[in-house]
Each structure stands twice: as C-alpha cells, then as structure tokens.
Amino acid sequence: MLLTRILRSVVVLALVGLLTMALPSLTTGNPAIAALGMEASREQIAEFLSRLNLDDPAPQRLAAWLGNAAQGDLGSSLTTGREVAEEIITRLPITLELLALGQVLALAITLPVAMASAWRPGSILDRFATTVAFVLISIPVFVLGLLAIALFAVMLNLLPATGWVHPLDDPVGHVRHLVLPVLTVGLSEAAVLVRVLRADLITTLGQPYVMAARSRGMSLPRLMLTRALRPSSLSTVTLVGLGFGAVFGGSALIETVFAVPGMGRLAVSAIGARDFPVIEAIIIFSAVAVLLAMAIVDFLYTRIDPRTRRGRS
C-alpha cells in the first residue's frame, strides 16, 4: 500500500521532471538570443547554450539537473546571476509566513462560523454566513486584494497598500505590511472552508451515532466539539494541506497585488524573462511540495479516523 504509493509518487516526479526539462524545446526562436539580447556575440551564445544544455533531450537534462541538485547546485538565474538556491532560500520564508498566517486566519474564522452555521441550518445566522461565503467565493483573490487596498489603504489610509519590510529592519512595519495580504488570503480561503466544513458538519450531525449520543443526554455544544468536529474535518484538512502545497508559486497573484517579494513574484518575473534555471527549480519543487502536502494529509487522515489505519472495512 505504502510502497505502491511511494512508487507512484516517484513516477509522477519523474514525469514532472521530464516535462519541465522539455519546456525549452517549445521556445520559438533562439532561447539564447531571447535571453541575452540581439547584441550578444557568437561566443557568448555558444557558451550560454552549452552551459544550459538547452538543446539536449529532456532525460539527459533531467539527469544533469538531478546530479547538480544533489550537490546543492540548482544553477544560476539568467537575469540576476544569483544562485537559484540562494534566491529560493531568501524568498521561501516570506511566502511561507504569508500563507501560514493566512491559513491560520482562515481556520480561526472557519471553525466558529461553520459550527454556528451547522448548529441550526437555515437560521438567520446560517443564512448570513452562507451568503457571505457564497459572495466571497465569487470574488477572485486578486480582486479581493485590490478591494482591500482601495478600502483600507486608499480610502481610509490605515495601512500601506503594497510592499514588504524585513522584520528585523522594522518589526511594526513588517506587521503593517502583512495585514492586508494575510486578510485577503484568509478571507478567500475561509469562504471555501466554511462551506465545506459546514456541509460536513451537517452530514455528521445527521448520523445515527450523534442521535445516540444525544439520547444519552450529551449536550449539543459538547457533542459538536467532542463528537462531530473530528469526523467532519477530513475535507477541511485536505484543503488546508493543498493550500500549503501551493507554497512554490501558488501565491503569484497575491504577491503581485501586494508587491511581496516571495516565491510567487520570483516565478512571475522568471517566466517573463524565460529564466529557465529558476523556472525549472520552481516547477520541480512545487510538485515535491504538493506530493509532500498530500502525504501529510493522508497521515493526518489516519490520526483522525481510526478506520483508515488498517485498510477500510
């Protein structure tokens, strides 16, 4: 079971790697000229091509990339010249902080709202919560971000609109800059989570075992917290897990809106510049992150539901 799972992940990663390494062959025209500009000399171009081995077949390029990566060498950016590994190490914490705080906020909103909603489906509170969630779900994250800027930065002038400050340089400024992007991530994520968790809670509350616990005199608040929440949390855990799986590049929109120099911005600028070493690293690491997140989610399943521990009955 576990073995086939690992095997499948390896196959998937190999396919991702091959696909990634085949990308340069899609380029129309000469990638060297595209990268170096028209005034590049013949020697420069030749050196460029041999360094990047862009013309090699994908398997060969993948093997070379893996060989280098094993030694900690992910290549250098074509535009900035900085090492890709260094670029990732400086930017990854920025994105991680943003996503982690966003998810925490989303969960902090979701848990009470979903429970209150599922408490009495159809109540005024439930209708209000589901309507707000429904509207929020229909607002793309970049529009939500711009609305937040328009309201809090432009109209009310409470918070900085865009930008990012290093926490050691200016802790207060760091937090002030984080508020709007975190709020945006948190709200749009919460809209999805509330709907999912509410529906799952309602399903659970309709189960015979909940009625059985009620027949033994268990109060509803206790029932909700100690009996219903856990079996209802599988989809929510999956979504949060996949949210973290998006740490490499999934944050491109939010970072663009708020000009946060994280992984997402790195991806967008690298793609615009056809900076293949950066692009390749981001895609491969992104796949690793997603597979890792899914593995963690699966592990959490076995913690949540004992039935998943030894094959399902």
Binding site: R8, S9, V11, V12, L13, L15, V16, L19, L23, L26, T27, T28, P121, G122, R127, T130, F134, V135, I137, S138, I139, P140, F142, V143, L146, L147, I149, A150, V154, A161, R198, A199, I202, T203, G206, A246, F248, G249, G250, A252, L253, T256, A267, V268, I271, G272, R274, I279, I282, I283, S286, A287, V290, L291, M294
Partner: protein, 288 residues
C-alpha cells in the same frame, strides 16, 4: 431487514447542506440568467457593432469618471472602459467554453473509462491525475503561454488541460459508486458489453455530478483567465481582457478607481451568477 422507517421525511436526502427556499425559479435566478445573457450578447455584439469601440483613444477625455456618455468612465488613454469590458469578456467566454468542453470530454471520458474498467487503465488514469494535480498549473500555463504566445485557443486549451483532473476525479468516483451498484451488474448479466453498459447505465448516472461541476469549472476558468491576464500573460495590449483592465487601473486606484472597479464588478457578478445558477440547478435536478 425492513426496519428503517420509510416515512418520506425520514428518507429524504440530507438536504440541509444546501440553502433553503429552493425548488421554484426565483427572481434571483432570473436576474442572474438575464445578466449572463445580456453580457454574452454584449460581448458578441462588440465584434460586429462599430459603436462598441474598445480601441479608440480620446486624449481630450482621459480618466473620466462614469457618465451617461462613458458608463464605466475612461482610462488614461481616453478609451471607453465599458466598451473595453464588453470586448474583454469575449476572451473569458471563449476560454470558459473551451475549458469546460475539454474538461467534460477528456476528463469525464478518462474518469468513466478508468473507473469502469479498473485495473491497468485505472492506474494509468490515476497517475495522470496525480501528475496534473502536482503540477503548479498557473505557473506552467504562464510558461507555455510565454513560449508559444498568447491567444484564445492557447489559453483555453492550457487551462482546459488542468481542468481534466477535477472532472476526471468526479467522473471516476461517480463511476466507481455506480459500477458496483446492482443495476449495472444486472445489465452485464443480461449480456451487455462494457460499451453498452457505459453508455446506457454509467454515463446517465455520472452526468449529474459532472454537470454540476461544469458550473464550478466555468467560474474557475473565468478566474484563471482573469488571473493570467492580470499577471500579464493573457491577451496582449491593446487587446482588452478583464484581468488586464483590472491590472491597468491599479496605478490609478486613488484617482480613477472606476478603471479597476468597473471590470472587477463585472467579473465578480459573472462568477456569482454562474455559481448561483449552478447551485440552483444541482439542487433542483436531484432525484426526488
């Protein structure tokens, strides 16, 4: 044994996961439908009506606020935002339709075949789905668009490829749920081959789930197209698109917010309408 009380109330499907007061076509449904029809008509008319001018610059009327003449105001080049929004909607419509078609045909097909046949076919489909799921969709689409150049068809096809996975997953699990139901097995016993079983027994059972997801997929495609053009990887200027218009207005958010807000509202209203209609449809077409 027949012990469960078979009162209609006791056996009613758990409906509380849906919002209430449904079953009847409400004013809201009509409003959404009217909006979407008008929008689509307007977008299509922008192709033929010379009055809808998405490109004409008028430097005597830059950054004008909304007025009877310019419903959504004008941008920094004096172009009419309303006309540009209508023209920009075309790209969303084409991309959404293309995407959902690819998703239903390829994804739905793969899911049904993999789920029904099982074995090697299912392993291949499963691996393909995991591959698609683990790839950073937005980034990969941007890379390929950069390399191949943007266009309706390229964008639609690329987003469509990433829409295969969710459709296939839904179709596969619906197929698995129905494959071992005894009515499918009964048709096998009566001599139906896999093709007949899939067409007459499986597909009708899978269709409602896939159809319900199609609405979600339309909104996802519209958001994806908007995101791409917002990041500058959609149709290139001066060709308008909703994401592009929203992005262009960002620098004027303080002085001329309508440039960003007007197309944003149109975008959100579109998504909201599709979502609402999808939800209504999926709750009313369930088996009684």
């Amino acid at each position: 044994m027949a012990a469960v009380e078979q009162t209609p109330a006791a056996t009613a499907p758990h409906a509380a996961t849906q919002t209430y007061n449904r079953r009847r076509v409400g004013g809201l449904d009509l409003l959404c439908l009217t909006y979407l029809v008008c929008l689509a008509t307007g977008c299509l008319l922008s192709l033929v009506l010379p009055q809808i001018d998405a490109y004409g610059q008028d430097f005597t009327a830059v950054l004008q606020p909304p007025s009877p003449e310019h419903w959504f105001g004008t941008d920094s080049n004096g172009r009419d935002i309303f006309d540009r929004t209508l023209k920009g909607g075309l790209s969303s419509i084409v991309v959404a339709l293309l995407t959902v078609t690819i998703g239903i045909v390829v994804g739905g097909g793969l899911g049904v075949v993999g789920g029904y046949l099982g074995g090697v076919a299912d392993v291949v489909v499963g691996t393909l789905l995991e591959l698609l799921l683990s790839l950073p969709g937005l980034i990969l689409v941007m890379v390929v668009i950069t390399l191949l150049g943007p266009g309706y068809w390229t964008i639609g096809t690329l987003i469509g490829i990433f829409m295969i996975a969710p459709f296939a997953r839904i179709a596969r699990s619906a197929t698995l749920a129905v494959r071992d139901r005894s009515f499918v097995q009964a048709s096998r016993l009566l001599g139906a081959g896999p093709a007949r079983a899939i067409v007459t027994e499986v597909i009708p059972s899978v269709l409602p789930a896939v159809g319900a997801y199609a609405f979600t997929a339309v909104t996802a495609a519209v958001v994806a197209e908007g995101s791409l053009s917002f990041l500058g990887f959609g149709l290139q200027p001066p060709e308008p698109s909703w994401g592009g218009l929203i992005s262009e207005g960002r620098t004027h958010l303080g002085t001329a917010p309508w440039i960003t807000l007007a197309p944003s509202m149109v975008l959100c209203a579109t998504i909201l309408s599709v979502n609402l209609l999808g939800q209504r449809l999926s709750t009313t077409t369930r088996q009684p």
